[in-house]
């Protein structure tokens, strides 16, 4: 029987495809890179995938990996609890920028400070995708969202958060922090692999922010979507920290 999914990562669950993300969304690119990383590292059996409420919730049966949705902002503490109970597992918390930098910021910071051996993957699309494109902590100054119709203003809405930059200042030397972009998926995949390796080999904390497209709420066609992420990359430096 021909496998029409032969280009898909082995760790993907074919029967839940086509996936539920909007056409042109960046999430599936992050998930594809993650799937390939898991395949190449042959770690599917020990991987536990915990996902936030946000567009990430759409990935609840995306992989052939043990997966659970949690609550908005609370994926990281579930990951910490799981990892404490099963130190031999590889635990991933997959969250949005609202989940990780707003409602769950205390967890994002606390696991970094405690050097908890989990991997946080945070998808930064500069808005709240699932709820219709409101301002997120990552929204750029002047960027229009449904709750900043005139553009984000520093004196009203505050400064844009730069997560990896903040975390890099507080983590232990053994931790891993990086920011990649779905425009450069193979670089992103390398960062993801290093993050997972950090958890596996050093049993320390790792964090990857992925700059990602949200054409639905950006209200962009393919060309402008790419232009927008290039603009984002100027502000959010993509590198290992």
């Amino acid at each position: 029987m021909g496998n029409k999914f032969q280009n898909f990562p082995k760790s993907w669950k074919t029967k839940s495809k086509p996936h539920l993300f909007c056409p042109g969304c960046g999430h599936p690119i992050v998930l594809k890179m993650l799937g390939q990383a898991i395949d190449e590292m042959e770690i599917a059996k020990k991987t536990v995938f915990l996902i936030d409420i946000g567009c990430s919730l759409l990935a609840w049966d995306f992989f052939n990996l043990d997966t659970s949705q949690t609550h908005h902002g609370r994926t990281i503490p579930v990951a910490v609890g799981f990892k404490m109970a099963r130190p031999d597992s590889l635990v991933i918390a997959y969250v949005g920028d609202g989940g990780g930098y707003a409602i769950g910021l205390q967890h994002t910071l606390s696991v970094a400070l405690r050097n908890n051996p989990i991997t946080t993957i945070l998808v930064n699309n500069t808005n709240y995708g699932m709820t219709g494109g409101q301002m997120a902590p990552t929204t750029l100054l002047e960027e229009k969202t449904s709750t900043t119709p005139l553009g984000r203003q520093i004196d009203i809405h505050g400064q844009t958060i730069k997560g990896p930059e903040i975390l890099a200042g507080v983590v232990a030397d053994s931790a891993y922090v990086a920011r990649g972009s779905v425009r450069q998926p193979l670089v992103l995949k390398n960062y993801l692999k290093r993050a997972l390796q950090t958890q596996l080999e050093k049993q320390t904390f790792s964090f990857v922010e992925a700059l990602s497209f949200c054409p639905t709420n950006w209200k962009t066609a393919a060309k402008e979507t790419l232009e927008q992420i290039e603009k984002l990359e100027e502000q959010f430096v993509c590198k290992e920290f």
Binding site: K13, K15, S16, V48, L50, I53, L57, W60, D61, F63, N64, L65, D66, T67, S68, Q69, T70, H71, G73, R74, I76, P77, V78, A79, V80, G81, F82, K83, M84, A85, R86, S89, Q106, H107, L109, S110
Partner: protein
């Protein structure tokens, strides 16, 4: 049922920590709050010889969700909190309720509104029985003294892991902080804890240890199932559903389970109710005062009895309806403004014409003398 027992002098919170260890709990997640902080402190103190773990979390949400993570992995774990911490913790237990994740929360109620006081109160009854967004599909043991704290903490783990409903021990600051003799013992049979979120192909469907046993409707699943679970080579769980009909079906199935096991779980205490003309309804620490009041009143020939629900969820509705037959007067008392009283009245709705007197003292202590006076007042 008891293993070898031993009588020791303990603080209430210490008794809880000891019982959790005896129950096979392996991890405690906690955030300090008076009057429960000693549970975490004692747990840590007892840890080295018991090989348990702990995490002092950044808040009670992290503590509650930490419990969820560990229990998904198959490790018995718990948290303890009070008052405003109980509010934050309940979010995690609503997920436990949604996914039938066995889990235990210990609550020592603080007084009343907002931050308020820290010692004596029964004002977290509604919160603990119904949580946040949920349907109250959980077990709540209301303890009435030191020995209860030990016994029901032990039992809470057995109940949670046997029936897969989140289970709470509801005490108060007074019980948590009091000291006295407690008989401690090990349960003879500990219920195994199975991982929920790990595809475990060791167990065949129908085996009591398989996931399908706990989620009997699993076999009906198709792609994009009507439920919150998808099984293949992996376990996929969700609590966010697309259709109202899906969640309705899940709630209905949980409700049926809850009703089915209610007779096994429900517990209550009766004292001198047989020929009683007046019945006092009280729970928790107030029931301890009511016991003394009943003794004194009986010595003076007053025909009074006490009915104390031990489980507030599930509530002993049938037993309450039975106990009021042939009585003349009913009185509900609590250290709150009617949270427990409302449950009694709901149980008795349409069952009797006898007026129900109330004695509510939110956040205040209730002594035997007060209850004696109150009973004498309504006897007139």
């Amino acid at each position: 049922m008891l293993g070898k027992s031993q009588t020791v002098f303990l603080m209430g919170n210490e008794a809880v920590a000891k019982a959790a260890i005896a129950a096979g709990a392996k991890i405690m997640f906690g955030y300090p709050i008076t009057p429960t902080s000693e549970i975490l402190e004692k747990w840590i103190e007892f840890s080295p010889q018991n090989h348990t773990l702990y995490l002092q979390t950044e808040d009670e949400m992290a503590a509650g969700f930490g419990v969820i993570g560990a229990c998904l992995a198959g490790t018995k774990s718990f948290t303890a909190t009070a008052g405003p911490g109980n509010v934050l913790m309940q979010d995690a237990f609503s997920m436990a309720e949604a996914l039938r994740i066995p889990s235990v929360g210990i609550i020592m109620q603080r007084g009343g509104l907002s931050t308020s006081t820290v010692i004596y109160s029964q004002e977290e009854v509604t919160l603990t029985c119904f949580g946040g967004n949920g349907e109250g599909l959980r077990v709540v043991y209301s303890t009435s003294g030191l020995q209860d704290l030990y016994d029901y903490t032990l039992k809470a783990f057995a109940t949670a892991w046997k029936y897969r409903f989140p289970t709470f021990v509801l005490g108060d600051g007074y019980q948590g902080k009091m000291k006295g003799e407690v008989e401690i013992y090990k349960p003879q049979n500990l219920i195994d804890s199975q991982p929920i979120l790990l595809a475990d192909k060791k167990y065949a469907a129908g085996d009591k240890k398989s996931l399908a046993y706990y989620y009997p409707y699993i076999n009906q699943l198709t792609h994009r199932p009507l439920t919150n679970i998808s099984l293949g080579d992996s376990v996929n769980l969700r609590n966010c559903l697309n259709l109202e009909e899906d969640i309705f079906e899940i709630i209905e199935s949980y409700k049926r389970d809850f009703q089915k096991v209610t007779p096994e779980i429900v517990e209550y205490e009766e004292m001198e109710t047989k020929n009683a003309e007046t019945i006092i309804f009280a729970h928790g620490i107030v029931a301890a005062a009511a016991r003394v009041a009943v003794e004194r009143l009986r010595e003076n020939g007053v025909k009074v009895g006490l009915f104390r629900p031990i489980t507030l969820r599930p509530f002993p509705t049938q037993q309450i309806r039975r106990v009021i037959k042939n009585t003349k007067r009913l009185i509900v008392t609590e250290s709150a403004l009617g949270q427990f009283g409302g449950m009694i009245k709901e149980a008795l709705y349409g069952q009797t014409d006898i007026p129900i007197a109330t004695y509510y003292r939110p956040a205040l202590g209730i002594t035997p003398e007060m209850l004696v006076d109150k009973v004498m007042e309504i006897e007139k």
